[in-house]
Structure formats: structure tokens, C-alpha cells
């Protein structure tokens, strides 16, 4: 084998231009695999970390029934009985595993202070929202349970809203208008930055009850709860199911999802995307393989007399077969390595200069890309090599 490797290298270095051009196809193919799959994989990792950054061991209760596994489907409308503050109280009283239960009322609207207006997200929340979503207070206080119970018109602002409405002015104690209501600012959130390209600091938190009043509704968008540990998630979900179903005469017109469920849903989406990208990249690798096969055929034809001579000197058909197969393998794996190296450099560069682009090279991608190049070498080398091995030695020697 080592002997074949030696002569393959010798034969390839004797025609560097051709070897280089042939490898180019594989280089591009492997580079495509590495880059495209890294995009997919990066997206997965990014989603994962984003989902875990919103808090830990969260459980989400939403109105309507839907399958949590196997992707998204629309909640069945009509039969949906809304979630209410009474559900929140029931959960608080009748469950044991939940660390806290937080009502959520989502809405949006114009927030005004002085002459300035900003359209932003307005979330009605319970007092545990800050803890559950790891949103800490920068100055002032969070919304308290008294605020919720008394339906107080108080607000906690995200940093972007503060900047837009108040500039350098201290917002604490100031009155702002949210939609048609007057609210007093009691706190400002620690900045969170952005996820999924959305500014997480562009929001206003108010008590969930006040939000119901403000939006003229008597139901919640969702209920957010949490458990102490991952192991508690499944039994806690069962508790929630039972508590809420009891209040609905056994009808399960709601859905409970754990953070893991959510990650799985996104996970299956991103793996589908990664696979699709891999398929696209494979096409360019196949094109590279066809290039190698082509050149190997040319090489076999050009070296027909050499093949005849080697047979005369004692080479078996197997020796000839291996010689050309190894040559094709050297071409493809060298191309694969170069493609991989370029990929690593490009990804390192992107990671360094564009840290926001979720591009991630993991060992399995490198292994898959190189393995694919190797397979391409075998597949595209085997037919020309067999042709070489089957040549009649006399005809090969007589070949002009």
C-alpha cells in the first residue's frame, strides 16, 4: 500500500497543474459541505443557546390543543376555552412541583411620554416574571404581587424604551401613557441585547391584570411556570394538566410544553435545514468526483504503454488496479484536506470578524466532509482503475 502511495504521489506531482485543477472540484465540494452544514449546525446551536437563555426549566401553558411533538400545527380554535387569572390561582394552590406561576398577557401599542411616542411590545406579567425569564431590574423595582392583585397602573421599561422616550432623563416615578392608560414607571430592566434579531429591550412590562383592563379582555395569552429541576418537568406537566382539566370538566383545551419540547421542535427544524444544505453541498462534491473520474480515464489512456510495461515487469492486475485507485484517492483526499483547511480558515475568520453570524464548525462536519471526499475518490477511481487492470498487456505495450 505504501508503495502505491509513493508512486501515486510521484505520478501526481509530475503533472501538478492537472492534479491541481482536478482537485479544485473536490476542494470546492468539500468547502461547500463544510460551510453550508456549518451554517445549519450554527443555527441549531444558536437556537439552543437562545432557548436556554430565556430561563431554565420553564413550562409553557397555552390555550388550545396542539401536538407538542412533530412540529407546529395551529391550535384548534373554537373549542379553546381561554386561560384566566383563576387558572393561575388554581395552579398556585393545587400544584406542588411548580416554583411559581406567572400569567402573561401579550399586546402592543403606542407608549408616550412628553412629546415622544414609541410603538413597542407591552406584556402583562405576574410578579415572578423577572425570575422566570431571567430579567433583572437595573433601577427601581419589579412588578409585585400587590401590583397584580390591585390591578395597579405601574410599568417597568426596557432599556430601548427608556432611551427613546426619556433620553438621559430619569424615568422613575414618571407617568407615561400606554395605549389609553396612564402608567407610572417603577423600574428599568437590565439590558438583554437581541435574540433572533429582535431587540429584547424594546418592551414595557405591566401587571397582567392591568393589561387585561387595558386591552379590554378577561383572558391570558399564556401561563409561564417553572420547576426546580429537569426531572420535575414531566410530573409537573401532569399536575398542570390535571388541575386545568378539572376546571374544564375534563376537557383538555390547553397545551403544556416544556422547554425541552420547545427545543425539540426547533431542533427538528434545524436538523431538516442542515440536511437540506448537506444535500445541496453534496451536488458540488459529486461534480468534483466526476472531474476526478474524467481525469483518471485520461490518465489510464495516456499511460497505456506504462501499464503494459508494468505488467511485463511483474505487476498483477491487482497491482495496476491499486495503483490507479490510490492515485484517485490521493487526489480526492488531498482536495478534501485543502477544502477542509480553507473551510476552517473561512469559518474562523467569520467567527472572528462577524461574531453575530452563527457559523460553527464541529468535528462531525469535518469528518463527514473528509469522509465524503474519500468515498468520492473510491467511487470515481474504481471504474478507470478497473479499466486499467483489465487491459491486455500485449495490446497495452503495442499502444501508440
Amino acid at each position: 500500500m505504501f508503495e502505491h502511495l509513493r508512486s501515486a504521489l510521484q505520478s501526481l506531482t509530475s503533472n501538478k497543474t492537472r492534479a491541481g485543477l482536478t482537485m479544485l472540484g473536490v476542494i470546492i465540494g468539500v468547502l461547500a459541505v463544510v460551510l453550508l452544514v456549518s451554517v445549519g449546525d450554527g443555527a441549531r446551536v444558536y437556537l439552543d443557546s437562545t432557548l436556554s437563555s430565556i430561563g431554565t426549566n420553564l413550562l409553557f401553558v397555552t390555550p388550545g390543543r396542539r401536538e407538542t411533538r412533530g412540529g407546529f400545527s395551529h391550535p384548534q380554535s373554537g373549542s379553546a376555552k381561554p386561560l384566566t387569572m383563576d387558572d393561575v390561582h388554581a395552579l398556585e394552590r393545587q400544584t406542588h412541583l411548580l416554583t411559581s406561576v406567572c400569567p402573561i398577557v401579550e399586546g402592543g401599542g403606542a407608549v408616550r411620554y412628553g412629546g415622544r411616542t414609541r410603538d413597542t411590545m407591552v406584556a402583562g406579567v405576574g410578579e415572578s416574571f423577572g425570575v422566570l425569564r431571567s430579567m433583572t431590574i437595573n433601577i427601581g423595582t419589579h412588578i409585585s404581587s400587590e401590583d397584580v392583585d390591585a390591578r395597579r397602573r405601574v410599568a417597568v421599561l426596557g432599556r430601548t424604551v427608556v432611551r427613546e422616550l426619556f433620553g438621559n432623563e430619569n424615568p422613575l416615578g414618571k407617568a407615561i401613557r400606554v395605549a389609553n392608560g396612564r402608567f407610572r414607571v417603577i423600574g428599568v430592566l437590565e439590558p438583554k441585547g437581541s435574540t433572533f434579531g429582535a431587540d429584547m429591550d424594546d418592551l414595557v412590562l405591566i401587571p397582567a391584570t392591568s393589561a387585561e383592563d387595558l386591552f379590554g379582555q378577561e383572558f391570558l395569552t399564556s401561563i409561564l411556570t417553572a420547576v426546580r429541576s429537569r426531572e420535575d418537568a414531566a410530573p409537573a406537566m401532569e399536575e398542570i394538566e390535571q388541575t386545568l382539566a378539572r376546571r374544564r370538566h375534563g376537557e383538555r383545551t390547553f397545551t403544556v410544553m416544556s422547554q425541552d419540547d420547545l427545543m425539540n421542535v426547533f431542533g427538528s427544524l434545524t436538523s431538516a435545514m442542515t440536511l437540506a444544505l448537506l444535500a445541496i453541498a453534496s451536488v458540488s462534491l459529486i461534480v468534483g468526483g466526476i472531474g476526478i473520474m474524467n481525469i483518471m480515464f485520461v490518465s489510464v489512456r495516456e499511460r497505456t504503454r506504462e501499464i503494459g510495461l508494468r505488467r511485463a515487469l511483474g505487476a498483477t492486475r491487482g497491482d495496476v488496479l491499486l495503483q490507479f485507485l490510490v492515485e484517485s484517492l490521493v487526489l480526492s483526499s488531498t482536495g478534501g484536506l485543502i477544502g477542509l483547511a480553507i473551510g476552517v480558515v473561512v469559518i474562523a475568520g467569520v467567527n472572528r470578524y462577524f461574531p453575530d453570524v452563527p457559523l460553527r464548525l464541529s468535528a462531525w462536519i469535518a469528518a463527514v466532509a473528509f469522509g465524503a471526499a474519500f468515498v468520492v475518490g473510491v467511487v470515481s477511481g474504481v471504474v478507470p482503475a478497473r479499466r486499467a487492470a483489465r487491459l491486455d498487456p500485449v495490446e497495452a505495450l503495442r499502444y501508440e
Partner: protein, 243 residues
């Protein structure tokens, strides 16, 4: 090739024993019989010239003896082996160990150095790189080309190239040298030198020589001349004035 299969009387048997060799090529829907029942035998150490008009089948006969082609009919025993019973790997080993080929067109690998060209057959004999080089140098010194070891064959003259090819043919110390018009591409003076070299290998190493040639003056140097016409031996004799 297993050693057990080697007949113990190999040394006493003829090196080549051809019996009614026929070779027919299919041309379109017509069979062309190029060799038409060739029988002869050659003992170890013999020096044989094979002559005959162009197209008479000399090269074809050499390919049969050299186990590069298979006779359509007849029996060929080489160094005691019935070649019809050997498979591809065994025939390759026979070519490697028993036979050294010398061609009219030299057939050197141009992108490989002189010494590595000479060492090539040893690679198929499974000899390690270091020993290959050493034995190739030894063979090169036999043909007085030690000073050209690292040259590319492209920088050598025709006579030098053929001497490299001869070194390559003898590097596995084969019993038989099959030379197909080895001086066909060389001028007469160089041709004579090449023949002198063959004769030296014959007398000093005991190599058996079968040389195809067109040149009658050169052919007459051989101790035995076989003449082939239209695929049959018409004359097999020792030239007058030779033992």
C-alpha cells in the same frame, strides 16, 4: 507462485519448451493465424537469435514465451512450469522472477530517475526500497551506467537508454532475457555494443538470450538462429563456423 510447485529437476529440463504453439487473432469475422504450430526448446545458457520477415510473428511468439499472451493452442513449459495451469498472479511472478524483457522502444518511465526505473521490477518482487536501490545500482554498474543513476531517461542517448532497460531486465536476476529487436532504434555501432553487452551477460551471468533481430550480421553472432516465416519455424540451425 509456490515453491513446492517447482519441479526439482528444473535445472535439467529445458528453460523453454514450446510444443505446437498456435496463436489466432480474430479480425472482424475472419480468424488470422499468426503462429501456426511452433515447436522448439531452449536450454539454460543458450544464445538464440530469432529472425524472419516483418509480420512473420516474431513479436507474437515472444509475447507467448514471455507469458504476456496466451496461446490459442499448444503447450508451453517455462522453467518447468506448464504456463496453462498458472493464474494471473503466478504468471506475473514468473514474468518478474524468470524473465527479463528488453523492447525496441526501451519503455522507460520518463518521469522516473534511471535508478528507480531499474529498480521497478523489484517492487513487484516485494523487495524493500533500500535494497531495491542497492540492487538497481549494482545492475547499473553491470551495464557501465553508474554515473547516470540520478538522470532522467530523457537526457540519455539511445544506446544509454537501452542499457538502462537491460539493467532493468537483469535486476531480478532472471534466467531468461527476451529481447524484441533491441537494436532496432539504434545505429549499427551502438547495436554492436548492445550485443556485446548481451553476450557478456550470457557468459558471465549465464543468462539465456532469445533476441529478435533484423540485422543478419548481428544474428550471426548467436550460437543458434531460428527463422520464422508466416508463423512457422523454417530454419533452426547453428550458423556455419560456430560451435
Amino acid at each position: 507462485m509456490s515453491a513446492a510447485a517447482a519441479p526439482s529437476l528444473a535445472e535439467e529440463l529445458p528453460l523453454i519448451d514450446a510444443n505446437g504453439i498456435e496463436r489466432t487473432f480474430r479480425m472482424g469475422d475472419e480468424d488470422v493465424r499468426v503462429l501456426n504450430g511452433v515447436s522448439f526448446s531452449v536450454q539454460r545458457g543458450e544464445y538464440v537469435a530469432l529472425i524472419g520477415p516483418s509480420g512473420s510473428g516474431k513479436s507474437t511468439l515472444m509475447y507467448q514465451i514471455g507469458c504476456l499472451d496466451t496461446p490459442t493452442a499448444g503447450q508451453l513449459t517455462l522453467a518447468g512450469y506448464d504456463t496453462a495451469t498458472l493464474d494471473d498472479a503466478e504468471l506475473a511472478a514468473l514474468r518478474n522472477q524468470v524473465i527479463g524483457f528488453v523492447f525496441q522502444t526501451f519503455n522507460l518511465l520518463s518521469r522516473t530517475s534511471v535508478v528507480d526505473n531499474v529498480a521497478l521490477p523489484l517492487r513487484y518482487a516485494g523487495v524493500g526500497l533500500k535494497e531495491r536501490r542497492a540492487r538497481a545500482r549494482e545492475a547499473l554498474s553491470r551495464v557501465s551506467l553508474s554515473h547516470r543513476e540520478d538522470y532522467s531517461p530523457e537526457r540519455l542517448s539511445g544506446g544509454e537508454r537501452q542499457r538502462v532497460a537491460i539493467a532493468r531486465a537483469i535486476v531480478t536476476r532472471p534466467a531468461l532475457l527476451l529481447c524484441d529487436e533491441p537494436t532496432g532504434n539504434l545505429d549499427q555501432r551502438v547495436g554492436k555494443e548492445i550485443f556485446a553487452l548481451f553476450e557478456e551477460l550470457n557468459s558471465e551471468l549465464g543468462a539465456t538470450l532469445v533476441i529478435v533481430t533484423h540485422d543478419m550480421t548481428l544474428a550471426k553472432r548467436a550460437r543458434r538462429v531460428i527463422e520464422l516465416v508466416d508463423g512457422v519455424i523454417v530454419n533452426d540451425a547453428t550458423p556455419a563456423g560456430r560451435a
